[in-house]
């Protein structure tokens, strides 16, 4: 098992480097210049050249990448071209905010989806199944940015029950999961974020539990006289490893794919940080954020693999 973990960690290195090379190339393939947002719209070529030199953008692209990589390996992700602030500080602060949002969304999505999926599988073909399945189809079909705006209009503008934007009156610095006001700010973005994974995990759970319930050993369990709760317990435990793999992927997607939700709710996480970095062509921020998110994605998958092993001893990791 330990050698497996070491192997997986070693695999993360080329994956992360590959991701950063790809992103670096993408930024340079995209039209526009990292300096255009910094310079006046009639900056002379001399000023542009001076700025390129000042920010090291006059060097060949592979050299720029290697310098960045060397610094990143020593823990220095550079400074933002746009704001001159250290990227590590920017990313770490934004990451905490995104983890808060994603973790709560994950808990909500996973628990609701797992219960609904199991119920739908147990009542396969019944009205409750069709209702739950319809709900999951809605979840995966509705664009979450549209859903977020609708929630804001209903609950913030019309009913005035919940705030529309931000992390609270004092921003992320004053956010606390023990504060009622902070929690109120969390409600709408969490529901919006949870929508898609909820639909996906519900469908996965329904399918996995349904398949297990159709197997011979379930008949045997019933023939032995076990009550339905116990039968369902066995079925769920057998279906869990497959569902957990999907859950892990969804958590990774939530961490990296929150751009739209964070922009709508002005949530200062990695999604909105990436959004601004893309618009500004702020390469150091873009690279630093993507590197950190890629590492989290790899780590999440590793943790899920290990949890799967713990839940189902039939899965061997060597």
């Amino acid at each position: 098992m330990i050698s497996y973990i070491i192997h997986r960690i070693l695999y993360a290195i080329p994956i992360s480097i590959g991701v950063t090379v790809f992103c670096f190339a993408l930024v340079y393939m995209a039209p526009g210049d990292p300096l255009t947002r910094l310079l006046p719209d009639d900056a002379s070529p001399e000023v542009v050249e001076m700025m390129k030199k000042a920010y090291g953008l006059d060097k060949p692209i592979p050299v720029q990448y290697l310098i960045w990589l060397g610094n990143a390996l020593s823990g220095d992700l550079g400074t933002s071209i746009q704001t001159d602030r250290p990227v590590l500080n920017e990313v770490s602060k934004a990451l905490v905010n995104t983890i808060i949002l994603s973790a709560v969304s994950v808990v909500v999505a996973f628990s609701v989806a797992f219960v609904l999926g199991t119920v739908a599988a147990y009542y396969n073909g019944h009205a409750v199944d069709r209702l739950a399945t319809g709900f999951s189809v809605l979840g995966v079909s509705i664009p979450n940015y549209w859903f977020g705006i609708v929630l804001i209009i209903i609950f913030s503008v019309q009913l005035r029950w919940l705030p529309a934007t931000g992390m609270g009156p004092a921003g992320s610095d004053g956010f606390s999961l023990l504060s009622l006001d902070s929690l109120r700010h969390l409600v709408l973005p969490v529901i919006t974020m949870a929508l898609i994974p909820l639909g996906i995990i519900m469908r996965t759970t329904r399918s996995a539990v349904s398949e297990v319930l159709g197997q011979d050993f379930v008949q045997t369990l019933r023939a032995k006289g076990l009550n339905e709760w116990a039968v369902l317990n066995h079925a769920v435990r057998n279906a869990l490893p497959g569902v957990m793999a999907v859950m892990g992927l969804q958590f990774g997607y939530l961490m990296g794919g929150s751009i739209l939700v964070e922009t709508i709710f002005t949530w200062p996480g990695t999604g909105s940080l990436l959004n601004q970095a893309i618009l500004n062509r702020d390469i150091p921020v873009l690279q630093g954020t993507i590197l950190v998110l890629a590492l989290i994605f790899v780590a999440t998958n590793l943790v899920v693999d290990l949890l799967q092993t713990a839940v189902d001893p039939r899965i061997k990791r060597t």
């Binding site: 995209a30 039209p31 526009g32 210049d33 255009t36 947002r37 910094l38 310079l39 006046p40 719209d41 009639d42 900056a43 002379s44 070529p45 000023v47 542009v48 001076m50 700025m51 000042a54 920010y55 400074t79 746009q82 704001t83 001159d84 602030r85 250290p86 920017e90 602060k93 934004a94 705006i149 804001i152 209009i153 913030s156 503008v157 005035r160 705030p163 529309a164 934007t165 931000g166 992390m167 921003g171 992320s172 610095d173 023990l178 504060s179 009622l180 006001d181 922009t263 709508i264 709710f265 002005t266 200062p268 909105s272 940080l273 959004n275 601004q276 618009l279 062509r281």
Partner: protein
């Protein structure tokens, strides 16, 4: 913490919030909360980023410049007024030397005095690459306005002289964009701009209190501001980046902010229905097309004029729900420089006849347009409308849609790099005649050297602009600038379409705001309640 204790705390907090009281506070602080369109807090180190929004919300709030813009009224276009300089004049013996008399008795927020030494230090940090406080970003941000400065010298404690490389009667306008930061505060921050950004000090009507990058900038009223009329009538100004227009509107309606910038025209009826106040005013903004005068059909003035006759500007204004003005020139009609130019009334038949005469019917042209961008309004539907109007008059317009950064690159590089584009749609600020007119007319500004993307050249324009720079009598100079605008229009240097009216939405609890005809706005008169 036990659950019971937590419940008690939550209940106490909720009770305090419902009463609008901050525990421990002696009185209720008035906080003006503004949602900006920017995605981040503009730089606080002097020259801001984020375009003129940075100047509006950070520049002129924390800092002052030698000349300021008069933002106290909305009836006429803003003009410059004395700021940290009380008077300025050209040296009678040298028409390349401007003298500025400085305001006495002004202190920075950190208590350091403002004087000639400070002005010299600030101008040198922005113009000399070997200055100890030199910063490439700050240098580049203002270089267009400092490029003709040869040097600055102190005459006495409250007088400075700025020597120019060439005669420039309009230079004082450029000083209104150059902010004075405190040398003491900069040095106290270890001469490090990153540290200074978190403890900036100017002489402006607001003092820095705290900043959470990307989330909020909190400024407090400078109750000792040198201009008593502009001491803020609220205690605190909270600036929140909120780039998404729908979110800004929702935040206002949900009571989370008090004032939002640039609500989209679609949301304005809803905001009005909810009792919000909508303010608009024309301002020096020009939404149109810069043309390529060398490589394509717009080299022919008949084609350029045909394009202008093809535009139905009233239809464009209607599509924008009335939140725009028809554009018949670079400047809006109320501008002092508008004059009496040739008027391109909507006349598709005349446009078609001109195209036929020019031998370009149908006339194929390619426009570079963006999906979004600062001041671009609603570029996609607006470009679609222009395209359909021009096509109806005999053009065949191809819209090449690109990212805003790419369009800026096209604009900066000019037609030598991008000869395939016959026109580019980049909205422009007209805050001073150079920005609004001259940079699109002068040969010295041919891209990539400057803003003249399509390499327009006219000996008449060159001579006129030289004369403007050499005319120090304001009335005579204004008449010449008006003449330059009339030439700009008759030569159809752009396709003129519209001017934004810059809507803002305010909570009905606010009073005192006067929307100036400017890119900049004064928030200091805003108070809570119907007292003004």
């Amino acid at each position: 913490m036990t659950l019971r204790k937590l419940r008690k705390e939550i209940a106490a907090g909720a009770a305090a919030l419902s009463l609008g009281v901050i525990p421990g506070a002696g009185y209720a602080e008035t906080v003006l909360r503004v949602a900006m369109t920017a995605g981040d807090i503009p730089l606080t180190i002097g020259q801001p980023d984020q375009g003129f929004e940075g100047y509006r919300f950070v520049g002129y709030k924390l800092y002052d410049s030698l000349l300021l813009w008069d933002l106290s009224q909305g009836d006429t276009e803003s003009d410059v007024i004395p700021g940290l300089a009380t008077d300025w004049y050209i040296d009678p013996d040298d028409n390349k030397r401007w003298v500025f008399e400085l305001r006495e008795g002004v202190s920075f927020h950190d208590g350091c005095p403002f004087n000639a030494d400070n002005v010299v230090w600030n101008y040198e940090r922005l113009t000399l690459e070997d200055h100890p406080a030199f910063n490439p970003q700050q240098y580049a941000a203002i270089r267009t306005r400092t490029v003709d400065i040869a040097g600055i010298e102190k005459i006495d404690d409250y007088t400075v002289a700025i020597n120019m490389k060439r005669t420039d009667s309009l230079f004082p306008l450029q000083t209104s964009f150059i902010f004075m930061i405190s040398q003491c505060a900069f040095e106290a921050a270890g001469s490090d701009y990153a540290a200074y950004a978190m403890a900036p000090s100017g002489t402006g009507p607001y003092k820095f209190d705290q900043m959470v990058p990307r989330e909020r900038l909190e400024l407090i009223a400078n109750t000792e501001y040198w201009d008593a009329d502009r001491i803020p009538r609220h205690d605190r100004l909270l600036l929140l980046p909120m780039p998404e227009a729908t979110t800004r509107a929702a935040a206002l309606m949900a009571g989370q902010v008090d004032l939002v910038e640039a609500p989209s025209p679609d949301t304005i009826p809803m905001l009005q229905g909810a009792g919000m106040t909508i303010t608009t005013a024309p301002y020096p903004h020009n939404w149109g097309y810069q043309l390529n005068f060398v490589d394509g059909p717009f080299a022919d003035i008949r084609v350029r004029q045909a394009a202008n006759y093809a535009i139905n500007r009233e239809e464009m204004v209607a599509m924008l729900n009335g939140y725009a003005l028809p554009g018949y020139g670079a400047y809006p009609p109320d501008s002092p420089y508008f004059g009496d130019p040739l008027k391109y009334e909507f006349d598709p038949e005349k446009a078609r006849a001109l195209l036929e005469e020019a031998g370009c019917l149908p006339c194929h042209v390619t426009f570079a347009v963006s999906t979004s961008g600062s001041g671009q309004m609603q570029p996609l539907p607006m470009n679609e409308l222009v395209s359909s109007q021009m096509n109806a008059a005999g053009f065949r317009v191809t819209l090449e849609v690109m990212d805003w950064n790419k369009l800026i690159d096209v604009s900066l590089s000019g037609r030598p790099t991008y000869p395939e584009y016959d026109a580019i749609n980049v909205s422009r600020a007209l805050q001073d005649p150079f920005s609004g007119l001259f940079r699109f007319m002068l040969e010295s500004q041919h891209g990539p050297a400057g803003g003249n993307f399509g390499h327009y050249y006219s000996p008449e324009a060159e001579a006129l602009i030289t004369k403007i720079y050499e005319t120090f009598d304001q009335t005579a100079r204004d008449a010449l600038i008006t003449q330059a605008h009339e030439l700009f229009v008759s030569d159809a240097i752009m396709i003129f379409v519209t001017h934004d009216t810059n809507p803002r939405a305010l909570s009905p609890t606010l009073s005192g705001f006067v929307q100036a005809q400017s890119w900049f706005q004064d928030m200091t008169p805003i108070s809570f309640g119907q007292t003004n």
